[in-house]
C-alpha cells in the first residue's frame, strides 16, 4: 500500500511502563525531565558534567508507538512526557483561546508536553501531534465532541498552569475515613 495515500487507522503498540523523572541541578537550578524504564528510578544525587542532579519527583507513566493497521507505518512518541487537559485557567493563554474558539463545536484542547529542557531535547513535531490527535479522535465513540492536541509551546505560563494532567502523581486520596 502507498503509505502517502493511506487513510491511516492508528493503534497503540509497543507500550513501555516506566517513570517520568524530574530532576533539578542544585548548582544552576536547571530542570530536566526524562523517561526511565528502570525498575527503581534513581533517588540519590549524581554528577553529570557541570550539573549535580537531584530528584524532585517521579510519576508512573507509559511510552508508546502508534502503528497504522493498514500500511503498517509505525511512529514513536518517545518525545511525549504527558498530556494535559486545558481547564481555561488563564484568559491570555493561547491554549485558552483555542479552547474558546472550539467550544461551540465541543472541541476539547489537550496540551502535549515534551521533556525538559525543551531547547536541548527533541520535541514532538506538528506532524506527530496531528497523528496523536487522529488516534484519540478515532477511538472516540461520541460524535458530539472531539479533541485537539497542541504543543506546550502555546502555554502562557507553564509553572502556574492549572490544567488536568494525565499522570500518576499526587493522586491517592489523603482523606481520613471519617470524611467519606
Amino acid at each position: 500500500m502507498d503509505k502517502t495515500k493511506c487513510g491511516h487507522q492508528w493503534e497503540m503498540v509497543n507500550t513501555r511502563s516506566g517513570f517520568i523523572i524530574t530532576e533539578i541541578c542544585h548548582k544552576c537550578s536547571l530542570i530536566t525531565t526524562y523517561f526511565s524504564s528502570e525498575e527503581h528510578p534513581p533517588l540519590e544525587e549524581y554528577r553529570d558534567g557541570e550539573h549535580f542532579w537531584n530528584v524532585m519527583s517521579s510519576s508512573q507513566s507509559v511510552q508508546f508507538d502508534l502503528r497504522c493497521r493498514l500500511c503498517k507505518t509505525q511512529v514513536s512518541f518517545d518525545e511525549l512526557s504527558a498530556l494535559m487537559l486545558c481547564t481555561s485557567c488563564k484568559k491570555d493563554c493561547k491554549v485558552f483561546e483555542l479552547l474558546e474558539r472550539g467550544q461551540g463545536h465541543s472541541v476539547w484542547v489537550y496540551v502535549a508536553f515534551g521533556f525538559k529542557p525543551y531547547k536541548d531535547k527533541r520535541q514532538l513535531t506538528g506532524e506527530k501531534l496531528g497523528i496523536l490527535e487522529d488516534y484519540f479522535n478515532m477511538k472516540r465513540k461520541s460524535t458530539k465532541s472531539s479533541i485537539k492536541i497542541v504543543s506546550h509551546e502555546l502555554i502562557y505560563d507553564e509553572d502556574s498552569c492549572m490544567g488536568g494532567f494525565i499522570m500518576d502523581e499526587f493522586l491517592l486520596s489523603l482523606d481520613a475515613p471519617a470524611n467519606k
Partner: protein
C-alpha cells in the same frame, strides 16, 4: 447495555449530570496512564481515584462513566470539571471487587 439501566440495576449514586450512553465494557484501574493506553471508548472506568485529573483521562478516551468505589468522597472541584466536560461520575459504597462481580452478573463483560 445502557448506562441508565446499569445505574438502576445496581442502585449507583450519580454525582454529575447524566446523559444515557451505551456501555461497551469495563476497565478497572487506578492509574491514569494505564487508562489512557488501555481503556476503550464506551468503557465504564472503575477506580478509587477522585482527583480532578480523572476527568482529563476519561474525556480523552470517551469513557461512558467513571465509577468511584468504596464510598470515597469525590471533591467538588472534580464534579464541577466533570460537568463542564460532560464526563459522568458515579459512586458506590461497594468495593471494586464487589462491584465487578455485580457488573458481571448483570451481563457487562
Amino acid at each position: 447495555m445502557k448506562l441508565k439501566d446499569i445505574i438502576g440495576s445496581l442502585s449507583l449514586n450519580v454525582l454529575t449530570n447524566l446523559d444515557d450512553k451505551e456501555v461497551t465494557g469495563v476497565y478497572i484501574s487506578d492509574m491514569l496512564s494505564d487508562v489512557m493506553s488501555n481503556a476503550k471508548a464506551g468503557n465504564l472506568w472503575v477506580t478509587i481515584q477522585t482527583h480532578k485529573n480523572i476527568v482529563a483521562a476519561a474525556n480523552l478516551i470517551d469513557i461512558s462513566a467513571v465509577i468511584v468505589t468504596q464510598g470515597t468522597r469525590v471533591p467538588e472541584e472534580t464534579i464541577d470539571l466533570a460537568n463542564r466536560y460532560n464526563v459522568i461520575i458515579i459512586s458506590t459504597n461497594d468495593s471494586t471487587f464487589a462491584l465487578s462481580g455485580k457488573l458481571y452478573q448483570i451481563g457487562i463483560k
